[in-house]
Symmetry: C2
Subunit: 258 residues, 2 copies
């Protein structure tokens, strides 16, 4: 989100008190890191927290799984934990960070082998299947994955595994990161398409009707022809594997300058 919310151009951070003992009347929380993974979960001073990041993420995830991402509000999550709403803000300074926690907790569901097999295509195929399964389990996840970078211990473990698995390609680090983005983008897109497709027969029927009428209208001739040419709807897993193979081939292709 680059321009979103128009953050007041960073209020020119307070001039960094070089001598913290200089004036004790400014308690100075000078730079609480924006990234939640940079804040320690526990500082060791006051009473021990009643909840952990894991349990918070788990509560939020179970709400989102059951009722959708927008049901996982601060109030709902806090209530699920048996805490007051504002207590949650001791753990999660902003809602955004709750999403980060959820994202990373879900990324913890991967079962990654300690070392890749050396067969890039096989490793990536297995990884993609796991990812799709996780996305199907948590329909709100793809939207988060495309929206946020996804840092955090578990996401880094995934990244590390992907980099290891693609090491035999001989691509440099940057190219393999780009390949990962492509790989992820495809899987997210597929999972989200699958969701809207499953969203309801009524909507689906309306869509078909609209497309049919649009196609029949004479505009969109190639769309009409594609509908005519298309075979049976094809089972989702088959379609997934078909395009996945293309994606992996694209990653494996030497430089594809053609």
């Amino acid at each position: 989100m680059p321009s979103s919310k128009s953050e007041p151009s960073d209020p020119s951070e307070p001039p960094e008190p070089s001598e913290p003992s200089e004036k004790p009347d400014k308690p100075v929380p000078p730079e609480a890191p924006e990234l939640i993974w940079l804040r320690p979960e526990r500082t060791g001073r006051g009473p021990r927290p009643a909840h952990s990041r894991d349990s918070i993420a788990a509560a939020a995830i179970s709400i989102a799984d059951a009722e959708g991402l927008e049901a996982a509000s601060m109030r709902r999550v806090a209530a699920a934990l048996g805490a007051g709403t504002m207590s949650l803000y001791n753990y999660v300074p902003k809602k955004e960070h709750l999403l980060d926690l959820m994202l990373d907790a879900a990324s913890g569901e991967y079962r990654l082998p300690p070392e890749p097999s050396g067969d890039v295509r096989a490793d990536l195929t297995a990884l993609a299947h796991q990812q799709l399964a996780i996305f199907r389990r948590h329909p709100w996840l793809p939207a988060l994955v495309v929206a946020r970078p996804g840092i955090g211990p578990n996401a880094l473990r995934y990244t590390d595994h992907f980099l290891a698995a693609t090491a035999p390609t001989g691509l440099d680090g940057g190219a393999r990161m780009e390949a990962m983005a492509l790989f992820n983008g495809f899987i997210c897109q597929f999972a989200q398409y699958e969701q809207t497709a499953a969203a309801g027969a009524k909507w689906q029927a309306e869509l078909a009707g609209y497309l049919g009428q649009a196609a029949a209208g004479g505009e969109y001739p190639h769309l009409a022809q594609a509908f005519a040419t298309a075979g049976p709807p094809a089972d989702p897993d088959t379609a997934f594997d078909r395009t996945l193979n293309r994606v992996i081939s694209a990653i494996l292709a030497p430089t594809s300058e053609d």
Copy 2:
């Protein structure tokens, strides 16, 4: 959005009054279509509407461009049009539909040739560059594209063009639609990555610090190595073209069974 908001399982549509003159005390709006493109913009009875879908979309887009997608609230858009908040609901029965309007209006920015050139790679490259330019102009767009199917006259024109441009591949309609999803998914992912990268030096610095410390920790060895192996950050357009070439190759590859 499959489970989100738990729509009350479709209230089993009222039994379709076969004789509309039978009982005039039920004015019966029996099935207002959910899809906004299925509703006529103008029915021709009462006073003429003061606004058009185009002007509404334009107002919303200019707000979203300037202040982010979440600034384009019903109130803000209505105010920008000089209308009362609730008047907007005569044009756009739900906020969701406003997003559809914005999405399609933005899709109207493509300048598509009447016929593709026949050179698939060239046509797709040109299309991708246009798409990236549009995404850069409207930072909120990629999120909408991945989230919603994107039907609507202009989006269909895009789809039709893509299908026409990929006709020489010999792929059937379904496969070309999947190819389009892959193509779109990559471009959206790239545009969104680019945005978070541009989001601010502070955040970027924190991220680098965190990644560095994570890499140095000894976990994530491949990540650390990738950072070491990676060359200079590489200009975004170059990176885009590099992966775009891979994507196009994946689409062009005969069946990529390997």
